[in-house]
Each structure stands twice: as C-alpha cells, then as structure tokens.
Amino acid sequence: MTRPLGPATRDGFGDALVDLGALNSTIVVVDGDVAESTRTKKFFDKFPERAWNTGIAESNLVGIGAGLAASGKIPVIASFACFLMCNAYDQIRMGIAFPGLNAKLVGSHGGISAGEDGPSQMAVEDVALACALGGFTVIVPADAASTRALTRAMIEHSGPVYMRTGRPEAPVIYDEEPVVELGKSITVRKGTDLTIIANGLMVAESLTAAEELEKDGVSVRVIDMHTVKPIDEEAIAQAARDTGGIVVAEEHFAHGGLGAAVAMIVAQSAPTKMAFVNVGDNYSTSGLPAQLFKAAGISAADVSKAARSLL
C-alpha cells in the first residue's frame, strides 16, 4: 500500500513555527537568506520585528543566534541542513553546544530527497555532525503532522536542538498530530518477527516494506525513531529482545547516524543480528527522489531485502 503524499516536513515546521510565534514572543528567527526554502517565511511575514535575514553568511547566522540565546531569546536558526551544519560547524560548537545555549537549529533539504538540486545541496552527514555535538538533541521527523508536534517539543525543550526537515512532499504516517516526547520513539506498526527502526522519509519506505513482508507471513514491527539523540534505549532493547533481528533505515551516510546510534544500544543491551539501510559512503546525484532512493539502495524494496537477510 502506498501512503498518500502530504505536505513536506519543512512545511510542517514552518506552520508550527508561526503558530508558536503567536504564543511565545521570545521566539525569534534568523535565516540565511533561504526563508522560502526553509519555510520560515511565514514567521518573517507575521513577525518581521523578530526575524532577521542574515544574508548568505552562515557563520554569522549562527553567531547571531548564539548571542540572541545568551540574552534570553529562543532563536530558531534556519538554513539548508548542509550549509548550516557544514559551513557553520565551529560556530555551532563554540557558540551553542559548548555554552549549552537554548538555541534551535533547523536544516532543510536533509537527505538525498533534496533531489534535482543535486548532491551539493543534500545533507547526508548532518545527523552525524549534530550527534557529535555535546548536549545536543537531534530530531529527524517522518511527516508533516509529526514535524508540527516535534517543532513544539523542540521549542518547549530547554537546550540546544538540531532538527532536520526535508524538501519533498512526505507520505502521511500520522493522520493527526501524534503525541510526541523527545527521546521517546513511536511504534507505528506492531510486529513480532523483526523490527525496522527508521526516521524521516524512511519510515514510509519501511512501512511499505513491512506490508510486503507480511504477505509472506513475516510480522514486522516498525518504529519511528524521530529522536536520534538522546535515543530511545528502552524501545530498542525491547525490540531486540522481542523480535530478534533489527533493520535500521535512514536517509544518511552509513557512519554516525541512526544506524550507529541503534547499534550501540543493541550491542550493550541485547545483541542480535542487524542490517543497515542507508546512503552508504557515496554522494548522490541529481534526479527524482524515488530514482535516487533506488540508486542509493534505500527504497522500500531495499529495506525489505535487508529484512529478509535477517530471517
């Protein structure tokens, strides 16, 4: 079954942000001249007095956000995920992580689903980079509804957060906004033979794979691990004990992302067979997301194949 497409996760973020802005005047936005892409534009339109386009200058973008946070504001710092995390990494480390400031980084165009713009615009290292920052919470939402809920949770959380959003329309996972808690995963499908742990667009791919496997009588649990750090250790350990094999699916390079985080918990708590579906170690190309997923080996069929390898 293919899920209907809904708004992009970046739209879920932009919509929630403008709603939150009306409730909380300490929320401010700084954006590196990509407000139309990151979807902070609605906030800019509604609250121009507390939103700044810092121009095409990510280091200064993050530095200004750090200063706003140090003076008590809740800055939402937005750009493309790759430019935000890669161009301004030292500023994020020194200005936000090290002092532990209450700043929210939101990177759009996460993963290879950025598509036609090509690999220079795709963040495939952002989750690893964010997880490596001391004290950071790292979120990768699966669809627009959960992004809205997670955006609220991100603002309510006291401390530095990185959230990745995506460019394309996202398959609907949640018909209405789920109740979310940072660090607490959501089991979106029950199962007993195997577990697929995924985030971002890979939740939809994993559900499709689970439905395909069910036809062969394989009962697959699917977990939306929207928070990569801190990770839901309990759900992972439980899945390892209940179902044995675990597949981890993510739209990210193999190193340092969700797969690594889950493997660490499995190794500590309940060692079992694992398989990993990810972008590997090679940059993608231009193309449609579905074409790129297939080429990179992260389509639903690839998830299904990885699952079968564990049976």
Partner: protein, 271 residues
Amino acid sequence: MPDLIEIAKRIRTHIVEATTEAASGHPSSSLSAVEIGVVLFFGDVLSYNASEPKWEDRDRFILSKGHASPLLYALLAEAGYFAVSELMTLRKFGSPLEGHPNMRRLPGVEASTGSLGQGLSAGIGHALAARIDFKDFRVYVLVGDGEMQEGQVWEAMMFAGRHQIDNLTLIVDRNQYQQTGAVDEILGLDPLAEKIASFGWEVTEIDGHSIDDVSTAFDWARGLQKKPQAIIANTLKGKGVSFLEKEGNFHGKPIPKDKLPQALADIERGL
C-alpha cells in the same frame, strides 16, 4: 572616578602573576588591551552588577580574543565578580578560570570564546535582543587585529552596518602581532579604518594605552546613532613589561619565574 592608572597596574600584575603561576597562557596578548578593559570596567563605561551577573539591563562585554582571558579574569576579579585570590587558579583543574573563557562556568563571561572571529556575531545577537525588548543596554566586543583575518568578522560587520546596530561598539586591539609574526606580513589589514568604515561603521583610531584617549573614544561611541562604532586601538603586545615590549612578539607563553620580579618592577614603575 578611581585612579585608573593604578588599577591598570594591578590588572597587569594579576595577568603576569597568574600566567606565570599557571606556567602557560597569553600574558602579552592580555597586556596590550589593559587600558581598554580598565576604562570599560572602571571608567564609567560599562553598567554591570557583580553581585547579579545576569542582570538583564547590564551592558555586555565580549572578549572575542579569548586567549586574553587573563585580562578578562583580572577585570572581573577587580570588579568584584569573584575574589582576587582566585586568579592564581588560572588554568588549573577544577577552576572556572579556564584557558579560554567559558560562560557556563564563570559568571560575568558573556560568550564562550577561544575559536577566533566569533565574538562580534554574538555581540550582534545581544544587541538585537536589546532592540526588540526596547532596552538601552550596549554591547562592547574586543577583537584582536590578527583575529580580523577571520571572514566571520566581516560578515558580522556587514550585518551590523546594514541593520544600523548603534548599541554595538567594536574595539580592535591593534597590537600588530599574531602567533607566528607580524599581522601586516602574514595577512595585512590596512587600510583597516577605511575598510571598516566602508561597511557602514563609524571609525576612530586612538592610542590604546592612553586612558584619556580610550575614555574619549567610548564617549564618542556612545554619542553616535544609526551606525555601529569601531575603535581601532593602537597598542603594544606585552605593554608594561620592558622585555616583552622589546621582543615584539612574545606570544602564548608565560614570563619565566626568574624574570617575574623584573616584570613586576616594570609594571610598578609604569612604562
């Protein structure tokens, strides 16, 4: 007003004693900016409350050249943020007086610095917070001249000029040297005043060791509207200690213990 020349001597004494005790650190980079710091903290420039470091309406001072932490710590101690005796714990395990300023551990530090080029951006963030809250606090950021080789400083200057951030003053400690040599030889900044002015700033150039010059410059900065202000303070690296001044670029090392008496005598004499 207190005797700022006497306070400057005390600050210099703290800088050399603490770094020699620590057996590491950057005394010469701290000594060049002593008058700037002393006028800010004790010359009726900064509004602050040492017993309430997070007072919302305080002026902010950001030491962007974080390696000059011995200067910042000496200023904070003399201002009453903590006991002067704590200065001798500089760089030691357990002390909040770390090698570079850590705002998480030491009240009075407005930004964690040590990776150069970042303080001005943070200062802009504070200044914007004042603007949207209709507060009248001001932000002062001290950078080194070598530090201005960092591109982020110029990104920040462009932004501050564009947004007419007039509650922001940048002080450039123009001591002419960076770790491995003369700034002008490695990656020169001149014409520095013209460059900064072209970004939409008001600029003045002063003798950074003249208390009168420094005081006048801060008065000038506070009187200006619609533009951020830059004070280029011409200074000497190692100012106040004869053999450091003579060496020109005594960078990133403490005064050896056997030379400490001479350094302290130089400071007391007031070079």
